[in-house]
Assembly symmetry: C2
Homo-oligomer: 448 residues x 2
């Protein structure tokens, strides 16, 4: 029989242990943070009726959906994000769930786009949303969640840029540009990439805006400095109408509330230039960049919307949410050398040295596990050099070695693999404490 | 615009928080156990080349695959189990990974079968395997992993039935039934369901076996009692040939090794009747039943195979693995009332009572979180009765209530929701200890 070539589809990938271990840890950290704020997990089917998925999408998204006819002749598709399923889910269950409804959802999505470096057709999304409240408390909490996510993952230096889209809307209304707002904001979103002049030119060209109007919009967008000075400048620039003042006050509230919630002042930036492309954001919006790696773009973005599920229900569902870019974060952590390089989740390898003592190795392994020390027992009594090579190449930190002599003397050799130091430590199945303390001490030391 | 009806496809389901919370906990527990033995996580694509998926499957599996042509004209399918992807993965990467290769994989799979009560077209699989070793150490460890999985999840009373398929094979060879072995074992697998007489009749009819031969097979299968007495009876029944004795010794080793690894004796049953349908098992096999709910069948099954990836590589990859039935376990835990009934992962609700003190609530919430106490802050200053109703219906255990008086006096009201008892506890942002100790004390109490 001829062999079938083992391969993955273009744009898809296998996750080997060395990559999957930190990826899984990242998801675990995110779950822990979400839960600590009372966000609850949900899951939805991979496959949905195609009409659900294409309801709101742009032509581009629609083209990217993996779609087919199932055995029952139904037109179905694989979800391409977690927002459309959330909208469908909320429309279907919100009366049972009640509001506020706070959920997180960590799950893969699929897009049949042309694969590029670092972009895949299957990738993980990690979203959290608070649905059913317009209160600024939920806006503040979203900023606090982002702060705790990034710091729990291990980042110190990052910036959460916050804006209120309503401030931009009020400025545009003041400038009589309400009708062109989508086009203007789309131009404005490019400010970071193409610079002031090109944005001004594009606004005039594409969005039918005068040079003076473009200048006003850019003046607002370029406000920089301490939050307080920005807050002070905003009323004059936006015209200072009642609704503009409400929008500015909301932004102030988000800032002061975030401080009260423990977000360090230096991590929050009021950036009235960010607009975020999606049309459905209506209020507070945010982006998060890593100070040491700003080039990779925002690692956590989101904002407030007025109506999540208008396609599926007449019930108005306002909310706020954001999405953590897991894959982007992982790539960043790799660049910044924040990832341990290990292909094993267990730090201790027990060498299997002497087949006559098989049961002793098994009991030792169980005793360590009972003490909370993850360990792997090598399954074959191969040469010690083979087992130590395995330990090195997999990133184990400690090898335990015991043969007939050690078992007789009631000791185990503890070999720290980074330093190649060995120590003989007392051990018996009845009294494992000396060994477990020794291991805990070694494992607590920082990896170099 | 007319609304799109929000609904899920037949055979698929949404997981609402009350179900998703324990489901996620279950997966977390499983991951923790796998890691403690050095099993590493992997992930593989949802979509594979169809030829990979249909390579080995039976006609029935093939029919159930969700398949389609992707935009590039490739015939693709959604994985229907995690074993075929593992085989493809191992064939592709084993030279890089080295052996032994120990992996776990928790991921959804899809089968377009007719939906039945409790069966879905999308469900989660949870597999662990040790590849690249024939040593009995890996067999023993698999039993130990199953024991630790079930006990970590919270079960006390369960039975791991262990057999060595080679014992059956040797008996069949001794009886001159080697050629009919698949048919005979398929009949034997029904012993628990249809009883001795019907199995004997079916063996004679379907498998071309004499009544005397069927009686011999059933005599072996019906061996019951203490492991030692079974081990004693086996040589005579199987004919006592060299290979039979080797097979029996292996079974003895698994038993004694599992005891050394800390598996309580009462949880292991040597059951020489289990054969497990799949043809590719060749050695030790196991099934796990819950003593309080045996009717739901095995919740963790698996066994040893000689060659995992023969379709994709000439490299022989022996191994052993098993699959934890997450959905079945969840259903069992619900039947046995082992699941807390909560729609929130946070036990504490902070009522938002007095909008003038917004920042105080935010800081309180952060202080509790810093102390490891997950809490949700109600986002709207609605009537207290509304907030307490929310707390009750979502399964919060404690509500914290503070208005202007409390904030002035430096106290918070702690309301235990099950007993409706309230206590006034000292609290300030600088000294949260009294409150956090009080909450930890309440939360440590067993739920009634």
């Amino acid at each position: 029989m001829s062999l079938i070539k083992p391969r993955t589809l273009n744009g898809f990938r296998d996750y080997l242990p060395a990559v999957m271990i930190p990826r899984e840890r990242l998801m675990e950290t995110a779950r822990g943070v979400f839960r600590s704020y009372g966000f609850a997990p949900i899951d939805t089917p991979t496959l949905e009726y195609l009409e659900i998925l294409t309801g709101k999408g742009s032509d581009e998204t629609d083209r990217q959906i993996y779609r087919f006819e199932d055995n029952g002749g139904r037109a179905v598709g694989m979800r391409f994000d977690l927002t459309v399923p959330l909208a469908r889910f909320a429309a279907q269950h919100i009366n049972q769930l009640g509001t506020p409804f706070k959920r997180y959802h960590i799950a893969p999505v699929w897009r049949g786009e042309r694969p590029q470096a670092g972009r895949y057709r299957e990738f993980m999304q990690c979203d959290f949303d608070t649905i059913g409240t317009r209160n600024v408390m939920a806006d503040i909490e979203s900023v606090a969640v982002i702060n705790r996510l990034l710091s729990s993952i291990g980042f110190d230096a990052f910036t959460i840029s916050v804006n209120n889209r309503a401030v931009l809307t009020e400025l545009l209304r003041h400038l009589d540009l309400a009708d062109q707002s989508v086009a203007v904001l789309r131009c404005l979103d490019k400010l970071g990439k193409i610079g002031r002049e090109k944005v001004a030119a594009e606004m005039c060209e594409v969005a039918d805006v005068s040079a003076a109007q473009a200048d006003k919009v850019l003046q607002l967008a370029e406000l920089d400095g301490e939050p307080e000075s920005i807050f002070e400048a905003l009323p004059a620039i936006t015209g200072g109408g009642d609704e503009a003042l409400v929008a500015i006050d909301r932004l102030k509230d988000v800032f002061s509330g975030a401080l009260a919630a423990g977000v360090p002042r230096g991590r929050i930036k009021i950036d009235v230039s960010i607009a975020r492309g999606l049309d459905y954001y209506t209020g507070v919006i945010f982006e998060t960049t890593l100070d040491d790696l700003p080039s990779i773009g925002s690692v956590c973005s989101g904002g407030r919307y007025d109506n999540l599920a208008g396609l599926y229900t007449k019930q108005e569902l306002p909310g706020i949410g954001a999405s953590l870019g897991l894959d982007r974060l992982l790539a960043a952590m790799e660049s910044l050398r924040m990832l341990p390089n290990a292909a094993t989740p267990a730090p201790v390898l027990i060498a299997y040295f002497d087949a006559d003592h098989r049961d002793n190795y098994l009991t030792l392994s169980a005793r360590l596990r009972d003490a909370g020390i993850a360990n792997e027992l090598f399954p074959d009594p191969k040469r010690l050099s083979v087992q130590l090579k395995y330990a090195d190449s997999h990133g184990f930190r400690v090898a335990l070695i015991a043969g007939g002599n050690e078992w007789g003397a009631g000791t185990v050799q503890v070999k720290t693999l980074a330093t190649k130091e060995s120590a003989e430590v007392a051990y018996s199945h009845d009294r494992p404490e000396e060994l477990t303390s020794c291991l805990n001490r070694i494992l607590a030391e920082e990896l170099q």
